[in-house]
Amino acid sequence: MTLSAPRHDTARAVAEELASARAPRPAGNDFLVRLGEDRVTADDLRRLVRAETASAAGELSAYAAMAVRYPHPVFPALLDMAYRAVPRIAACARATGLDADRLARPPTRFSAYAYPAYLSWLALNAGRAGIGAAIYADLDGYYADGLLVAEGLRASGAKVPGELVDYYSAPVPDGLCEGSLSLLQEGLDAGDDAADALRLGRMMQKSLDGFWRSALPE
């Protein structure tokens, strides 16, 4: 690295830029906006749970594919996170009245794939810095939105299953943000481009916005 290197050439600086680039809440998240207006329906919740199911399945295979390309300890930890989410999402599915048949059939709306599709693309094409930045953006953005969703569901006038509130109340599992930043730093140290990593992190933020939007009526 030269003295004139741009200041976002460290993982922490990329993370800070990602945080400041993120659209403000609730405005940037259509689901939160609708929840704030108390207009989220039982169908919206079922669509959200189906999108979560497809996402968890996509995460398991994408993290595994990433682990094959880059042996970094963050991937087993991410796999563990996704694996543990599966039965909790299944409990949400039962509580929202989704039958096993509908749940087994993945969502057919293409917007529900914004997140798992982008994650799969990262797994096959991105370098360590890009994957690290995108996963950091995912963990940082999704869990923060999850807490706001849990709060909104609790405050909502409609009867919302406790399983869903519990699911979204969970914080980021310990060490994962640090792990993704360590992967990002490892990539930068090996010569990955920081601006490109930032771009891939920004696209993750937009993909997540698409994920939340996919729960709402078209």
Partner: protein
């Protein structure tokens, strides 16, 4: 198709059902709409080429993984064949780009903006998702291309509309986007779909993948249509 209706469907029936869905619930082609209104400029044509270039790169990585997952006949032959088709198309697309006054891979403002655009990037994600998660029948049904489908049909309709209106379209752009799918490749894709179904894969999952592929492919025409003011 009702969820239970496709449980025992054959590959050919899935292709028919997909074509029926395409007719019953047509997807918008904003680029064609723009062409019909006489509003297509060289900037839109450049966007088509730049987005397709992004698709090609993602496709090659995806087919590589699919070949690793399905290294047996008839899927292996199909995947190698499709990868070769894409590789050949890349060379022709590069010369189409030059005819439009751009270079593929150059960091122009438009190319950079498209690389940040989640809609322009959408199909790249889908084809990767399919490569990691899809079964043989799902991926092969998605690879089955109708001459009047979203990609081939959409491109040809745009070229015909532009040429019919007397608009200036470079010959190699017109030639590239009025190409037709290979019948041999389609026959092989059908074989692979059937092979997957015979091994117990779900026909409805394959059908869903085919329909999703249409929706993601349609984003080519959607993102190409939105050229900003002063775009270069």
């Amino acid at each position: 198709m009702p969820e239970s209706g496709s449980d025992r469907a054959s590959a050919a029936e899935l292709v028919t059902e997909l074509a029926r869905l395409r007719g019953a619930e047509p997807l918008r082609n904003p680029m064609l709409e723009l062409a019909r209104n006489g509003l297509v400029t060289v900037h839109h044509l450049r966007r088509v080429v730049l987005v397709e270039d992004m698709y090609h790169r993602a496709e090659l990585a995806a087919y590589g993984l699919l070949l690793a997952r399905f290294p047996h006949s008839p899927a292996d032959v199909l995947l190698l064949d499709v990868a070769r088709t894409v590789q050949g198309a890349r060379g022709r697309l590069a010369s189409v780009a030059r005819s439009l006054g751009i270079t593929l891979g150059a960091a122009t403002p438009t190319a950079t903006a498209l690389r940040r655009d989640v809609a322009a990037h959408g199909f790249c994600g889908f084809v990767s998702w399919l490569a990691v998660n899809g079964g043989q029948s799902a991926m092969a049904l998605a690879l089955y291309s109708e001459p009047d489908g979203i990609y081939y049909g959409g491109g040809a309709a745009i070229v015909h509309e532009l040429r019919g209106r007397g608009q200036d379209v470079p010959d190699d752009f017109a030639e590239y986007y009025t190409g037709v799918p290979s019948e041999e490749q389609n026959d092989r894709a059908l074989e692979v779909v059937q092979n997957g179904l015979d091994s117990g894969e779900s026909p409805s999952a394959a059908l869903d993948a085919g329909r999703l592929c249409d929706q993601y492919m349609a984003l080519l025409w959607t993102t190409a249509a939105f050229a900003g003011k002063g775009e270069r």
